[in-house]
Assembly symmetry: C2
Homo-oligomer: 100 residues x 2
């Protein structure tokens, strides 16, 4: 973790919807309906569910999630036509340790 990387993460956390997504993903089963094909949330939540919950457009949320993945806040796993997102606790830890 360096200053530039940490600032990129700061940018992601500078928007209430994006920060909210990070919070929702702490407990997916609490905030999202179960997926049709997957029985668990091991790889997180699909883009559509997140998008619907935010109330923003598909393109906006897709861009959010892409950037959040780029800076390492989220991990994206593809299963068929779905992309599942989960928190990257490793990066979160590095970020918080860098800050304090």
């Amino acid at each position: 973790m360096n200053l530039k990387h940490a600032t990129e993460i700061g940018k992601c956390l500078s928007n209430q919807t994006r920060f909210q997504i990070m919070e929702w993903l702490k407990e997916p089963e609490k905030h999202f309906p179960p997926h049709e094909t997957l029985k668990h949330f091991n790889d997180g939540v699909c883009v559509t569910y997140i998008q619907e919950k935010t109330g923003l457009s598909q393109s906006t949320v897709s861009t959010y999630l892409t950037n959040m993945e780029k800076c390492g806040l989220l991990i994206c796993t593809r299963h068929g036509k779905w992309s599942y997102l989960k928190r990257n606790e490793e990066t979160i830890k590095l970020f918080t340790e860098f800050l304090k």
Copy 2:
């Protein structure tokens, strides 16, 4: 700490200069010259020193610091005509705990 407050902090940390200030203030004696009137850095560093180190204008840095104080990232102590800024470790802790 709630989502709105955490996002305000995120905004402060979304700019490289502001994040840098947080880092400098971890070890003031390492990054700033000693003050003329105060022998220690117990209350942090004066605005002028921070401003000079950033290379940005006085008004810009003053606004940065004001906002960083408003969201609780910094503590401002006035000594005569100088304002001294130091990190607010309490808020930083609450923020990092909220995120993880």
